[in-house]
Symmetry: none
Subunit: 203 residues, 4 copies
DNA sequence: TATGAATGAGAGTTCATTCAT
DNA sequence: GATGAATGAACTCTCATTCAT
């Protein structure tokens, strides 16, 4: 019989991950030291190591958690959207609105950092590639759906389009995370949306 | 009375920078230790510190050197190109061809890393913002030139377009530096070029 | 909830300071490396840095601790001494007896080293000047007290006398710390005491 | 046949020693790096090592040179002084006047540093002890001379008095080198002279 | 002889991780 | 389960000394 409830443990774990996100977002993964997370979370160093085996695992679990959340959100939102165009529009809306929030900003930075950090750590590659593919698949399916429905140009390669979609998104977020200029960021998104949609739309 | 020629020193300096680029490109700035550069360059630790005052300075000088080189190349190439469209096409060509080379690949990674690393180091921000603005200006001028010549849609905000241009480029490079799939990368560039040009072109 | 008692930490701290005193006394501040203190104290390098932020801080804290101890001792001893002459005699006794002990010897060396080291470090100057003034004040008050009581020649400038007192002390200690000849040191003190007291005494 | 004259070499050597004195006096022996001497002397690193085998040797040769000079000066000055009292008075005068000069100030600091540094280096001890004895002998002889002539109290132990003489001098100089207050320094010397002479004088 | 670029052992300090309490 | 003191390998940077030119 466990001494504390599963829920207690889950909450503590999330608490650590939230602090970690904040720290990684602010200082970067490598520059964040465990004591930063200790200070932010008010959880002792030893306790943190009871929940995660290493700093890297915190990173990975954080990535997983946020990725899962993203897809949960998207599935829920997309359930009520019937066209590919609506789904894409919803995504752009999310990028323009939600991701300006502090929390998502930090997540974004952490995401971007993964690309770099992960690309040099062989043991992370497969995890990160899987995550990448999940994102690619997500848009790819929407594109395919749109092509079937005649909304999207059938000549386009859905995977290629999906890859471009995320590259554009990450590039834009990368610059915003550095420059921090909201208005420019929003304007860029408006233009990107227009450019992207006019390119993929049928006719 | 200098002991060695200015050329000798310049070459040695470049030698160090080349090794540094290789190491930073492979392992990342933070993960690269001075001894990596020592090993790669066959230049002693002390000698490296005769040419650069710190690891960070190596990083910064590398950034500067490659940025300067990029603009030197571009100026030279653009000198013989008379239209904005030709200049943009030339840039896309460069992205598609030249930047597949190992050396430029690493430069790209290092560039991207700057965005993240630099965004948290106050003392680097101004340097990096200046560099960013240099890139923005470069494309902005081409867009303005194209608008004057009637090649490019006059309704577009040149700066906004320039920002998008680089965001797309960096996003694409970011993913390529991680995935390393050349064919996908080239296909993506082809599509991006088509999408971008069809969006900005007049008519 | 502290992991260990305040007393435990205080003892550990003192343990480090004692080892530091031994090392600094034997090899000098600059020549002492942290590993010397590690070896002598059997406390790991990391643990030392949990208690002190730098080698210089160890030095400074050591100085402070020993200075405080000196004045605590003196206050206690002087409490039962009613004349300036008795207080001065007690001091000379201390110099002659107590400071021959190994521990005090090393403290003396470290003290002297402070004069030199501190005189070139701007950030230490104020600390060291404050400490100097504390010593000057201490004797100055005794002199003034002696003058009021008619024990000491009223024509003398108390501060000047106090400065000479400590200069003579430090010079004598400096030579002893180098030569290490106890008998000569004691003889010197006897003569200095006679010379000094006959000079300052009234009449 | 030497390529350069002995005089040339001697001058260069002295040049290095003068720069070394300046640097050691300003920053201390340990904190002075060879490049400080290079910069001050305008003599290359390699050349310095042609004249001296190590940093320590520079230190030692400097000590020797200045010590020799001191005794040369003293012999010359004392040649025309016929009483012990006159010789002592001359010394005090020197301490009060000449040693305020920048150059002598630095020499003084370097001297004091020798006591500390030398006391922990076994290979220096004999050199420094010899130098110490030379100073002790110098005053001791004056005291003996004064006792023979009836100027100085015959009950005093000449060597003990000589030791005290130098201890007082070094202590006073130590404090002055740190505090740098000329007036206090001069006042202290006036009082010390009075105190010392009244103690040793016959009658 | 003179030069100053090169060397590399070694310094202070950091921090992910462990483990006795 | 929680704590935070302890550990020590690893990091960046320094500088006395060497040596090819």
């Amino acid at each position: 019989m466990p001494k504390v409830s599963a829920q207690y443990k889950e909450e503590k774990r999330n608490h650590i991950l939230e602090s970690a996100l904040k720290c990684f977002g602010e200082k970067g993964y490598q520059a964040t030291i465990i004591d930063d997370i200790v200070k932010d979370s008010n959880i002792s160093k030893g306790a943190i190591y009871n929940y995660f085996t290493s700093k890297e695992e915190i990173y990975l679990q954080l990535l997983k958690q946020r990725t899962d959340r993203f897809f949960e959100d998207m599935e829920q939102e997309n359930a009520s959207l019937t066209s590919a165009n609506a789904k894409l529009a919803n995504l752009f809306k999310r990028f323009k609105k939600q991701e300006l929030k502090e929390d998502d900003q930090q997540t974004m930075r952490v995401y971007i950092e993964f690309w770099l950090y992960g690309s040099r750590q062989d043991d992370l590659r497969s995890i990160l590639v899987a995550r990448y593919n999940r994102f690619i698949d997500f848009i790819e399916k929407i594109i395919v759906e749109g092509q079937s429905a005649g909304e999207i140009n059938k000549d386009l390669d859905p995977q290629n389009i999906s890859r471009i979609f995320w590259a554009v998104r990450d590039g834009n977020v990368l610059h915003y995370s550095f420059l921090g200029e909201e208005e420019q960021y929003r304007n860029a998104w408006d233009t990107i949306e227009e450019m992207f949609l006019s390119y993929v739309k049928n006719g």
